[in-house]
């Protein structure tokens, strides 16, 4: 009781003396939290979009000839020999024609002069949900292309490849900005606490002489680290949230982005970011104490 009262009084005094430096440190920490969580949020949203897109992922194998029931069974066997699949669907020339006609809707009369079998027959392969890795999909597509009677295999290669490489790039950016977050938070807090300690060497010396325990001298500095970590991350996340709200609000009208529904961090991740920031700032303050508080 009395211990914590004294500690808070001491922390309050520290802050009253050094609040400007503390405030600047807090801003720096919140800026790095903002940068990190900004990229992380984009990354999360991309992953989200990807999982929805890959639900629709299917490989279409165009065939030279319409396969008879016997051949269909053989191909089915061959395909599932490579990998288990979610579903294999044979589309005959007639079915393809009907589908196309349906897609054309009111304009279907352009087809009236076309022969019913001008579209190739195909096999639609929907891979297992576990086969979501681009290189695996690629391998699968290459395998399908070697099946006898195959004309070509399509799965929206270009688009998917770009999307995947974008996500890869983004994950690197997230890693780098996370690294920056760690560096800035730890070093900024460490150097601020060091400044405080150095500028108050005389007082800390006296505290020791009149019998202050190590905890009495140390705990306020740790508390300051915790406080900076907490305030910094809250501020950073709050500004990101404001930015998020603003963006979604202003982009709601713009048609093409309706494709995506943007999500903010779930509570668990918010909690982890705050906790991480607190841990880093406390660690920064602790290292300074170890080095400069000769007690």
């Amino acid at each position: 009781m009395n211990f914590w009262f004294s500690i808070f009084r001491q922390t309050g005094r520290n802050l009253r003396q050094t609040w400007t430096t503390m405030f600047m440190t807090c801003l720096t920490v919140s800026l790095s939290v903002l940068i990190f969580s900004f990229f992380y949020l984009i990354y999360l949203n991309m992953l989200n979009a990807e999982s929805r897109l890959s639900n629709e992922l299917r490989l279409v194998v165009y065939l030279e000839e319409e396969p008879g029931p016997e051949l269909q069974e053989q191909m089915r066997l061959k395909i599932s020999r490579f990998d288990q699949v979610e579903e294999i669907k044979f589309i005959s020339k007639a079915e393809a024609f009907n589908r196309f006609a349906d897609q054309l809707g009111d304009n279907r009369e352009v087809l009236t002069d076309m022969p019913q079998d001008f579209l190739p027959a195909s096999i639609e392969v929907i891979p297992l949900k576990t086969l979501r890795n681009l290189s695996q999909v690629k391998l699968f597509a290459e395998y399908l292309a070697t099946l006898p009677g195959t004309q070509m295999v399509q799965y929206g290669q270009k688009w998917i490849e770009r999307f995947y490489s974008f996500i890869k790039l983004l994950s690197i950016v997230v890693l780098i900005s996370g690294f920056l977050l760690i560096l800035t938070a730890t070093f900024m807090v460490a150097s601020t606490i060091r400044l405080t300690i150095v500028s108050r060497q005389e007082e800390l010396e006296l505290l020791k002489l009149v019998g202050a325990t190590n905890n009495y001298i140390r705990t306020p500095f740790l508390l300051e680290g915790i406080l900076v970590g907490l305030m910094g991350s809250l501020l950073g996340l709050a500004s990101l949230y404001a930015l998020f709200q603003w963006t979604t609000h202003h982009l709601a009208g713009a048609g093409f982005l309706d494709l995506f529904t943007f999500i903010f961090f779930p509570p668990g991740i918010i909690f982890i970011i705050i906790a991480l920031s607190i841990v880093l700032c406390t660690a920064g303050s602790y290292t300074s104490m170890q080095k400069f508080l000769r007690i």
């Binding site: 009262f5 006296l206 009149v210 019998g211």
Partner: protein
């Protein structure tokens, strides 16, 4: 180790030597024992080693040789929280005051009580009563950096006695003071003394020890040159008087 120390001995110094680099012999073969509750004067020319002796007693410096025990504990082997607890029981008024000049008078005096977690209300009352005794009530909220030397000196003393320590070490408490203030300071110290504290005073000021009945140890060039009592009825030399002296000193 503490065989020589009975419960009534506060300070026990045995063959203590302090050498400062490169080759300053600040204290040389000092042996003295000071009883619990005793008031003890330490005199000697400037540079004799008085401050050094006090610094050894409050663990600001380590002896080059010899043994120092405070209340039966070898203070130079105590560390961590034990050392902190010990220091809370020892009040020191430094020759250079060591006040925090950007803090108020009240805050400076309160420090020694705050570190031992005294209640804020108790601290406030104690600070006010100490300032009243030194007639410095009106300085309560002033920064100590703005005070005169004599005022600073008295604040340093107030801080030393504030936490009611059982051992009080005072270095030149009256150096910058007029007769009235000197009397107030001595009054404050004798109150602590009457309350049972052991007090060691290093001083040049003959007026404060001449008429007392307490033991006076003179140091010259780091060695004990005499151990006498006030009022001219002491012994001419320390060596023989030491053991007998501590017994009937109170």
């Amino acid at each position: 180790m503490s065989k020589a120390t009975d419960s009534r001995t506060m300070i026990e110094m045995i063959k203590v030597t302090k050498r400062y680099p490169p080759n300053v012999m600040a204290l040389d073969d000092i042996s003295v024992s000071i009883a619990s509750g005793e008031m003890f004067f330490l005199i000697g020319r400037s540079g004799a080693g008085k401050t050094t002796l006090l610094k050894l007693l409050c663990n600001m410096e380590r002896p080059s040789n010899g043994l120092i025990e405070i209340a039966g504990m070898n203070i130079h082997q105590v560390t961590g929280n034990k050392l902190a607890k010990l220091r809370q029981k020892v009040g020191v008024a430094y020759q250079d005051f060591r006040l925090l000049t950007d803090r108020t008078v009240a805050e400076n005096i309160a420090i020694s009580m705050e570190v031992s977690y005294k209640k804020p209300e108790l601290i406030r009352n104690r600070v006010r009563s100490l300032l009243a005794q030194l007639q410095l009530e009106d300085k309560h909220d002033m920064l100590t950096g703005d005070l005169s030397r004599g005022e600073q000196q008295r604040i340093a003393l107030a801080r030393a006695v504030a936490n009611s320590p059982s051992l009080i070490l005072v270095d030149e408490p009256t150096g910058n003071l007029d007769a009235t203030s000197t009397a107030q300071v001595m009054e404050l110290l004798s109150r602590s003394h009457n309350a049972g504290a052991t007090i060691v005073i290093a001083t040049h000021d003959e007026s404060i020890y001449r008429h007392s009945s307490h033991r006076i140890m003179e140091i010259n060039n780091g060695r004990i040159s005499s151990l006498t009592k006030g009022d001219g009825q002491g012994w001419p030399n320390a060596a023989g008087a030491m053991d007998g002296g501590s017994g009937d000193a109170i």
